[in-house]
């Protein structure tokens, strides 16, 4: 396979596309897949066949188009009109009015200039939702594997790394470690075997960017990994995907087979001496496996338990060999950087945080979905312009970034630019991109408890501060939501947060206290109200009002045949401290 043959494939496919007078793209990723995307596609096919126009109308199921909250989504080409909340009965009308009659159904169409799409700048998500994820030719027709061809034929290994360094790209997994620097370290270590690993564990609850990217454009990730393999001298790659994403796993398996068949992967890629294979490793439900050393332990078939660093994976990773480990979004950014050059990428974003970032907007927000914005965009713009604000008259309370390791950004910091440094200053972290908006119906103490229960259940149990510390933190937070906590508990809570943060072995333990510290910092009043006045302004926590005596022990039977003469004082039975155990609460 030479570059010319690659262009040829692209050329032929584009010629085929011109043959169609119209295209119908039905979104079949994530949310839309579950709300019947596939069924809609079949209905469109039947409708077109009935009107025997299926010859010149191309109907495909695509990856995530972005506006998940308004799914199922259908986008029609060439006019690029986007129809939202498409029901089964709308199919006939769309085919008749739009495809045949060439008139846009305004009541179903999403305004073309709406900020949700207008304010975005898509690099990693560029082809997603526009190509058929299961067709390598469609990917090639949109410039796919061109970067790999260019990297192998025109760039030296160091040349590729220089391009990535000059782009200023930093790890999109959350820590923001400079990608070029990491590549150059793995490149310099002498070793017979090196590995490239894509971290697609995406354990943060409320984050679905990696899932959408893999389902919508799997080849972009494979191409990014191949370029990385070429640059650092690795011949084997692994994609570690969460077991909870069956569709993503299917799409990746198909993409790898297609890439091998068209010699984008395997031996002598683009007739060079560069060989690169990619295998899948499927996670089995462990949030800790998002941490790099635990992920590698899991790939090696062991318990996903982190190990102390140094030595860092770039020097000694999988089976002791140098291993380059990056996130899905980081790899997805590599092909555009190689094609357009590092300088172009460095021109976007802020001084220290270059390029764009993909966010998964969710929670109490009108436009839940997937967006990609340049670094440094103010949070207010993301939530209120792109996100469409809080639905049904809700009032913004805080935005949560970084999942169980992140923090909350309250009203007064709505205008901070969203980049690594500014988020760190307000006590949160960029994280992988989950952005959950909460309004007045959520109680911050209850949310702190929710995340601590998550970390307690997901702790691997290896080191004491995290294994036992998260349980103690959870017990205190649980007592606070049931009105059984004391002021001394609040002091122990703060002391414990510092200790668990400073002494835990890996990122899970070190960041587990972040949500607590963040809510303590910005919403201290809610903690005091819970402890001193047993009040929860969000109405989430059920606590006994203070002036009544503690509730009589539940197990008190009817009055037994004790001699009536004895007047037993109506002493309150002990409100015995309930010991641990998670408590289900209604919200």
């Amino acid at each position: 396979m030479t570059i010319d043959e690659l262009y040829e494939i692209g050329q032929n496919f584009r010629k085929q596309l011109e043959g169609f007078s119209a295209e119908i793209h039905v979104c079949c990723s994530g949310g839309c897949f579950s709300t019947g995307g596939l069924a809609l596609k079949e209905l469109f096919e039947k409708a077109c066949a009935a009107r025997n126009i299926s010859a010149d109308v191309r109907i495909i199921s695509t990856g995530c188009i972005g506006l998940c909250g308004a799914g199922p989504l259908v986008r029609l080409f060439p006019s690029e009109t986007l129809y939202v909340k498409v029901q089964r009965e709308d199919v006939e009308r769309i085919v008749d009015e739009h495809i045949v009659g060439k008139r846009v159904l305004t009541e179903l169409a999403y305004p073309a200039d709406a900020p949700f799409f207008a304010k975005q700048q898509q690099i990693a998500l560029k082809n997603m939702g526009r190509i058929d994820p299961e067709s390598i030719d469609d990917y090639i027709a949109h410039g796919g594997y061109e970067a790999l061809a260019k990297a192998i034929t025109y760039y030296t290994q160091d040349g590729v790394i220089l391009e990535v360094r000059s782009s200023g790209l930093r790890g999109r997994g959350g820590a923001g470690y400079p990608t070029g620097l990491k590549w150059s370290i793995v490149r310099k270590v002498k070793s017979t075997q090196k590995y490239v690993v894509c971290n697609a564990d995406e354990g943060d609850p409320g984050a679905f960017m990696d899932r959408a990217m893999i389902e919508g454009n799997p080849h972009a990730i494979l191409e990014g990994m191949a370029i990385a393999g070429y640059a650092v001298g690795a011949t084997q790659g692994y994609v570690y995907v969460r077991g909870e994403y069956p569709l993503a796993i299917e799409r990746l398996k198909k993409a790898i087979k297609q890439a091998e068949r068209t010699q984008m992967l395997g031996n002598r890629i683009f007739d060079s001496d560069f060989n690169f294979r990619v295998d899948l490793r499927i996670g089995a439900g462990a949030f800790v496996c998002g941490e790099e050393t635990a992920l590698m332990a899991s790939i090696e078939g062991r318990r996903g338990q982190p190990r102390p660093r140094p030595p860092y994976p770039s020097q000694s990773g999988l089976w002791g060999m140098p291993t380059l480990l990056n996130n899905v979004e980081t790899f997805a950014n590599i092909p555009p950087i190689i094609l357009n050059g590092g300088k172009w990428f460095a021109g976007i974003g802020t001084e220290k945080s270059k390029g764009t970032k993909v966010f998964a907007l969710a929670g109490r927000i009108a436009n839940t979905g997937l967006i990609e914005v340049p670094m440094g965009m103010p949070l207010r713009e993301i939530i209120f312009d792109i996100g469409g604000g809080i639905p049904d008259g809700g009032e913004f309370k805080a935005a949560q970034t970084g999942g169980p390791s992140g923090g909350y950004i309250p009203m007064q910091h709505l205008d901070i630019p969203v980049d690594y440094e500014s988020l760190a200053q307000v006590g949160s972290i960029m994280g992988s991109g989950g952005l959950i908006v909460v309004d007045k119906t959520s109680c911050m103490v209850d949310l702190a408890r929710f995340f601590m229960e998550f970390c307690m259940d997901e702790s691997c149990g290896k080191c004491i501060p995290c294994r036992v510390g998260t349980v103690q933190l959870f017990k205190i937070l649980d007592r606070m939501t049931t009105g059984a906590a004391t002021v001394q508990d609040l002091h122990t809570l703060e002391e414990l947060c510092d200790m668990v943060k400073d002494t835990s072995l890996c990122g899970l333990g070190q960041t587990a206290p972040n949500p607590v510290v963040s809510t303590l910092h910005f919403f201290r009043r809610e903690y005091d109200e819970h402890i001193l006045k047993h009040e929860c302004n969000a109405g989430v926590c059920e606590m006994p009002a203070l002036d009544e005596p503690a509730p009589v022990a539940a197990a008190v039977p009817a009055v037994p045949a004790v001699s009536a003469a004895e007047t037993v004082p109506a002493a309150e039975a002990p409100a015995g401290k309930k010991n641990g155990g998670s408590k289900k609460k209604s919200t």
Binding site: Q488, A553, P560, V568, A571, A573, P574, G576, N579
Partner: protein
Amino acid sequence: MDKIRLATAWLGGCSGCHMSFLDLDERLIDLHGRAEVVFSPVMDVKRYPENVDVALVEGAVANSDNRELLETIRANTRILIAFGDCAVNGNVTAMRNGIDRDEMLKQIYGDIGKELGRSIYSPLPVLEETVLPINKVVTVDAFLPGCPPHADLIWHVITELLEGRIPILTEEQLKYG
């Protein structure tokens, strides 16, 4: 210097610590000169007095009586000391915590167990669901672990208190079990 008002109490424990207290032997006479014991299981006092200076509380909180007495002691005492392993960490008394209280009562007392130990109207106090060391129920000023703490250690603590200092036990003095 008038005598300090000293109290000792016996919650959910085996009274071994009080035996060790009595092992002070001749030092008890010396103690008698400097402290006035105002409440103790070895004395015939029914109601816990007010403004007690120091209370040595032995045993864990295993039932409602223990809890009531402990809360009364805390309310009327300046310095409360957790006396012995049961008071400090629940020790043997807390070994039943792994078993569900109601199942245990049913197993031991059969049907009448339903009321026994569970209702405030039954003759016995209500058993706590979980036996707790006393620092989980009230704030405690000093701890004296040991099962039982050695008489010399008790004497060291008492003399420190008589000089008005709350003792911090060193590595050599600390002894569990």
